[in-house]
Subunit: 247 residues, 2 copies
């Protein structure tokens, strides 16, 4: 890989925080959303982790991920209740103090009727020192960004609005383009040819995915590349291999 | 926690392997399934990771997770194609050789018509030395277990059948019981009281989850404990707090 190509790669990890996902009680809807979103804007999602509401687990994961990727996104644990420990955990991960942030407090004061900004609600204004706020158009309590880590809500509608809010601030890479070829044969029938095409086009990423259609196994071959010409050439080779397998 | 209680804890991590999940092209359906399944049989799912089809990433994740939890489950990457590198990566993680396994080969030979067990298909019989096979009633190519790591297919119907196959072999803990209380107020209205109840019942896990109902924010409080009496007491306290907030 040349330096110019390396410069175009912007990578990300997503950290989902919450006991309720691990117990199965809540089914995550944010991973698929963020995966699609980042792919569309040219950021490569390279890793996802789901951890419980346990400070040490959050701290360790954040520190490992922020060292390894351009960006880290987190969801969950920034509400007003005792189990919302994400903000404090992020402060601990960065080794910075955390307290009620005047900007966040002003947002909540403007939102709640006089006298309704209870101590519990004020917890949502706790922001690590040095962080920027992330706008929450849905329910006001903000997320925040500290260095390369973006801390967002777990409720999908709020999380999605926050992603929209931060997207313009993100560095994006040359977009990964993709094509797919469906084949009405099991993937083992194509495996040798597709493996050979992958070897022939090392700068593409070729995936072979089994599907079921009406009880039969079929295949979808996905070809990905940042270069359009390479993508078209490799896709043509896959189409030819599929035609051969069907013949 | 007493030793007797610690003995009852059986923990697990789930490693999802596949570029297609991280690109958003395929939406994972296995995490929610396994979370529910493990909770039901009394195993605590404590962490989930999604990694790409990259040997080093798989090896590092497997080695970190198998040292930290009673069980590791993986899904994805055990098919016949060039991007199916899970079995080889697991062998590398354990530092054991891998080759075509006579038991797995026999299963595939019985399944495919004579002459149809191509080199690509035979890849699916590559099993790390010392592993036990996991039965695949759907499409025959087996998964495998090596020490505390269970390696399964990514296709949900196959993955689910494999989980059913291994469930009777798993050590399970004392089941985590749960109750929930719905409250028609935003969670910030209940935060102080619920936090106090969590402090009063340290052996329970109390979660507070914001919901939206017809545009309004409501709350579901989830109380979890391995002890039924404690669970009922804590739940009663939450019900009382909710009644107070509604009054």
């Amino acid at each position: 890989m040349t330096t110019a190509e390396a410069d175009q790669e912007v990578t990300a990890a997503f950290l989902v925080i919450g006991d309720e996902i691990l117990s199965g009680r809540t089914k995550d809807k944010n991973i698929g959303f963020l995966a699609d979103y980042l792919t569309t804007i040219g950021i490569d999602l390279r890793e996802v982790r789901i951890v419980p509401d346990v400070t040490e687990k959050i701290v360790d994961a954040v520190n490992e991920l922020r060292a390894g990727y351009t960006y880290v996104f987190t969801s969950g644990g920034i509400g007003p209740t005792h189990d919302d420990i994400t903000a404090d955990s992020i402060a601990a991960a960065f080794g910075v103090p955390i307290d009620v942030d005047p900007r966040a407090k002003a947002i909540l004061e403007a939102h709640y009727p006089p006298g309704q900004l209870t101590p519990a609600r004020l917890r949502m204004a706790r922001i690590p020192e040095g962080a920027d706020l992330i706008d929450n158009p849905v329910s006001k309590a903000p997320g925040f960004r500290i260095e390369n880590v973006h801390v967002m809500a777990g409720v999908p509608s709020i999380m999605q609005a926050m992603v929209d809010a931060i997207a313009p601030t993100l560095k994006t890479g040359r977009k990964m383009l993709s094509r797919y070829v469906d084949a009405d044969v099991p993937e083992s029938r194509l495996a040798d040819q597709v493996g050979e095409i992958q070897t022939r086009f090392p700068e593409t990423l070729i995936g072979s995915y089994p599907r079921t259609n009406d009880g039969r196994f079929t295949t979808q071959i996905v070809i990905r590349s940042r270069d359009e010409d390479t993508l078209e050439e490799a896709t043509a080779a896959v189409r030819e291999a599929v035609a051969g397998a069907l013949a």
